[in-house]
Amino acid sequence: MSAGDLAAPDSVELADVAAHWKSAYVHIPFCRRRCPYCDFAVVTPDEGGTPEVVGRYVAAVLAEIDMEPNGFGPLDAVNLGGGTPSALAPAVLARILHRLANRHGLRPGAEISIEANPEDIDADTAGALCEVGFNRLSLGVQSLDGAVLLSLGRAHDVRQALDAVGAARRAGFGSVSIDLIFGTPGESVGDWRTTVNQALGAEPDHLSAYALTVERGTDLSRAVLAGAPAPDPDDLADKYEFLDEALAGAGMTRYEVSNFARPGHPCRYNLATWAQGEYLGFGLGAHDHRGGIRRRNVRRLDVYLERVGRREPPESGREVLGGWAAEQERVMLGLRRGAGVVAGPAGGALLRSAAGERLVGAGVVVVRRDRLVVARPLLTDAAARAVVALPPPAGWE
């Protein structure tokens, strides 16, 4: 790890240097089942995710990596996400990792992160993952309340979740992260406090906590449309405020709206994303950002396999960011961070706008030296919305 990593997770130096980091993301779409709230590109065994198809998919990802010319790296961060990357054997994951390292190189101390479900992580698997090169593990714990886990459709129980954290610790991961979801219908504030307190008891290096979001096309969204209770914004706010306070008390710093870390443990891949850094994306539905172009891959498995089989890029669409749009995006993303963002042209325009005045007046946005920082993180989108609405000033387009 570089010295910079020992700075506070929300330090401005770290936030800004992340813009120059290079990273890579690989999507592993396979899941044993589809969670009712999830809208990621996911394939279950019922939907054709058989062992044979998994094998073809891995081959296709390796082929897609090979199609990419050398010279992007060296990589500061690699992230395997899903889906459930831990559904693949460590040896298989190792092939992907090594292929990336061979093509682009890894910077010494690079963050090599993998997402995993608690039920997949025992001492052996954790050890094997460390051995093949992963140094950061992000565990999809979601809740430490049995009833909430059930209604989230998760396969693990509380015991398994805590055991997985312990196993990861003992295996020697440099960073262990717990992912939580709050605001599940039926979850009381007391349930959530218990979850947070137990999570802190497991002493993670990093914690992500996401308010349950009703995404279009999910089972959860269909249930809500049919009249089931939707997450309540005030309930979410109560739970978030408790979390923010409890984590601060435990020495964890909020460095982004939903992400908290001990010193030295913020997620580099995330920091790079919010700093508008460049990244490669491989696999189903993966996104890629380079040279002012945001590209996305197809989300259908058969199409992906066929395209890559023909050695064609599996791209489904792209967005070329104009100067002003990129500048707005820089501020929109940066405002999510604890370190905020250098105001620059878009931040300056925001401050001069009527909406900006209101945001400052209401204490949502504060100005710290040359930076804008959101002081009420739960209202970040109110600020971001004002930023994307700014018309391009003279000389921009």
Partner: protein, 600 residues
């Protein structure tokens, strides 16, 4: 010129949907004025909007040539009348041009309040009334019961009542004969100076103002110098003609004749309904009686949703006014709604029609404030000033008293609803007057009540409480001192002028509370707590708080979400463009429209 003894001038008094236009079409057809194949249903209603609403806004007239069974040729002038309470002055002028009227009643519906009001008006003008029952072909028709009702109202016997089906044509020939037999021929002095009544006028883009006139004394010829006696305008009779129903020019019009006159005058204000046309060379000493300035009764602010449309709104109003001298407006500025116009209307229907035409014909998106009446503020220094909007009400310190306009109301209802109607009227500060049974089943009720109460939601409530059976008519009465206050609505401590209202003191609390609660529902949560208060002067009578928004952020934002995220925020921002800023508070356009809607 036609021998007055061979002229019959008449109009048709009928409720909406009782078949007046169909009967007119049939009369045109039977007298050969229109070939059957040229018939367009409801020929006399010219404007699309009239056709759609089934009502007639501008009076019109048509000349029918009829050879009666006695072998003589007659000229029948059918003068159409507007069919709504808002236009009662225009109705009275149309009736003034006639010697008789057909009182047309639907065989299944019976007499309605407006029809009866107009029938009384016709009787007062001394017109001969021919009761006619229409739609006798319908299965639900009960012509005997309706005939009995008509006899109760008009006197006479059931044999005087003519039964027709305008749809099939049954009874129409008999009706034409009765018109010739029973209606008197027009009188007048052919040697006296010209006096002709303007009973309708409208604006034509190419010809300027076209007016319909009825000659009472003397005659008018093409090329004559004429004078409008009320406005004092002198002009030349460029064209004289009759509608058959297509315009046909003629050389002159004599006693009892009805036709149109074009003078080259371009401003509708100069040739007003009710004015008298005389000859410049030999003017009549006195005009015909009954002229009245058009007087708006109901006022409302109209504001374009998009502030950039203000000029377009002005132009649209100017154009509408070319044809509607009863529409008045003046520019108004609202802190909440921006630039717009305070408009005066003859009544609620007139207001709705104008609003709809502005939106439909001129493609404007409008917010209109709650309708108000014209109050009179008597100041402590003895001066009395008109108050047409809540903002014009002087502060209490300078205010001696406030008067409000009252109206005479006539309601006809099935007798089973008398109790519920009385309850409603008393709740609206009405005072009971006479009550007459038209039949054991139907009652005619008279009240005096504040116009403001009618303007609010009276008509809708009357309809809903009587399952649509009651009908209503009203006419202006006097002004009376009332205990009125202005209720202001404050948003984040700042008064929102568009939401202010003048209400009776006893109703202030209820109004304030309802408005405050409604706004709390309609205005989305902001970045900070927003108090909403209702106040009378400096006294707060009701208060609610829109709690600050606590969460406005999507939880995740990773590499894959960024484009989607930005697009989502852009879309949400688009949705916000229809927001109006009131101080620091973002108020959706919707909130203004819904809060001002007059349905409690």
């Amino acid at each position: 010129m036609i021998n007055p003894a061979r002229i019959r001038n008449f109009s048709v008094i009928a409720h909406i949907d009782h078949g007046k236009s169909t009967l007119a079409d049939r009369l045109l057809e039977r007298t050969g004025a229109v070939q059957e194949r040229d018939m367009r249903a409801q020929l006399l209603d010219t404007m699309d909007l009239e056709r759609e609403r089934g009502i007639t806004i501008k009076a019109n007239s048509v000349r029918l040539n009829y050879r009666a069974d006695d072998g003589d040729d007659y000229v029948l002038n059918l003068i159409d009348t507007p069919g709504h309470v808002d236009f009662s002055y225009e109705v009275s002028r149309s009736l003034e041009a006639c010697e008789g009227a057909l009182l047309l009643v639907d065989a299944s519906q019976g007499v309605e309040a407006q029809t009866l009001a107009n029938a009384y008006l016709a009787i007062e003008e001394g017109l001969e009334i021919i009761p006619v029952i229409n739609k006798i072909d319908l299965p639900a028709a009960d012509p005997d019961a309706v005939a009995a009702e008509l006899v109760a109202i008009l006197g006479g016997t059931v044999d005087d009542v003519i039964r027709v089906s305008a749809k099939t044509g049954a009874g129409v020939h008999e009706l034409l004969e009765v018109i010739v037999d029973r209606l008197p021929a027009p009188g007048g002095d052919p040697g006296a100076p010209l006096r002709a009544l303007v009973f309708d006028s409208f604006y034509d883009t190419y010809r300027g103002v076209v007016c319909n006139i009825r000659v009472f004394d003397g005659s008018i010829g093409k090329g004559d110098g004429v004078r409008l006696m009320a406005t004092g305008v002198d002009a030349t009779a460029d064209e004289i003609g009759v509608l058959v129903p297509a315009p046909m020019t003629i050389a002159d019009l004599g006693i009892g004749e009805v036709g149109y006159l074009i003078t080259g005058v371009k401003e509708i204000d100069l040739i007003r309904v009710g004015d008298t046309v005389t000859r410049t060379a030999i003017p009549a000493p006195d005009p015909l009686a009954g002229y009245r300035e058009p007087k708006p009764m109901v006022f409302s602010g109209m504001f374009p949703t998009d502030g950039d449309d203000f000029e377009r709104l002005r132009e649209a109003l100017e154009k509408l006014r070319l044809n509607d001298s009863s529409l008045v407006y003046q520019a108004e500025t609202s802190r909440a709604l921006g630039f717009g116009f305070r408009c005066g209307f003859l009544g609620l229907l007139h207001m709705e029609i104008v609003r709809e035409r502005l939106e439909r014909e001129y493609d404007l998106d409008l917010v209109s404030t709650a309708p108000s009446v014209e109050y009179r503020a008597n100041l402590t220094d003895g001066v009395s000033i008109p108050v047409r909007s809540p903002q014009e009400l002087p502060p209490p310190a300078n205010l001696g008293s406030v008067e409000e306009p009252y109206v005479k109301v006539m309601i006809i209802t099935p007798s089973e609803y008398v109790g519920t109607v009385m309850e409603l009227v008393i709740g609206k500060r009405g005072q009971m007057g006479e009550m007459t049974y038209l039949s054991p089943e139907r009652v005619e009720l008279h009240y005096r009540m504040p116009l403001a109460e009618i303007v609010f939601d009276f008509f809708d409530q009357l309809k809903s409480r009587t399952r649509g059976y009651a009908s209503l008519d009203y006419e202006p009465d006097d002004y009376r001192v009332s205990d009125l206050v202005r209720v202001d609505i404050l948003l984040n401590g700042m008064p929102v002028d568009a939401f202010s209202s003048i209400v009776h003191k006893e109703r202030a609390y209820r109004y304030g509370k309802a408005m405050v609660e409604r706004l709390r529902e309609l205005i989305p949560r902001q970045l900070f707590d927003v108090p909403i208060q209702a106040a009378v002067g400096s006294r707060i009578i009701s208060r609610e708080t829109i709690k600050a928004k606590r969460k406005d952020v999507t939880a995740k934002c990773y590499g894959g979400d960024i484009t989607r995220k930005r697009k989502l925020l852009e879309r949400q921002k688009e949705g916000k463009r229809r927001m109006k800023m009131v101080g620091q508070v973002e108020v959706p356009q919707e909130a203004f429209i819904s809060a001002l809607r007059i349905d409690e």
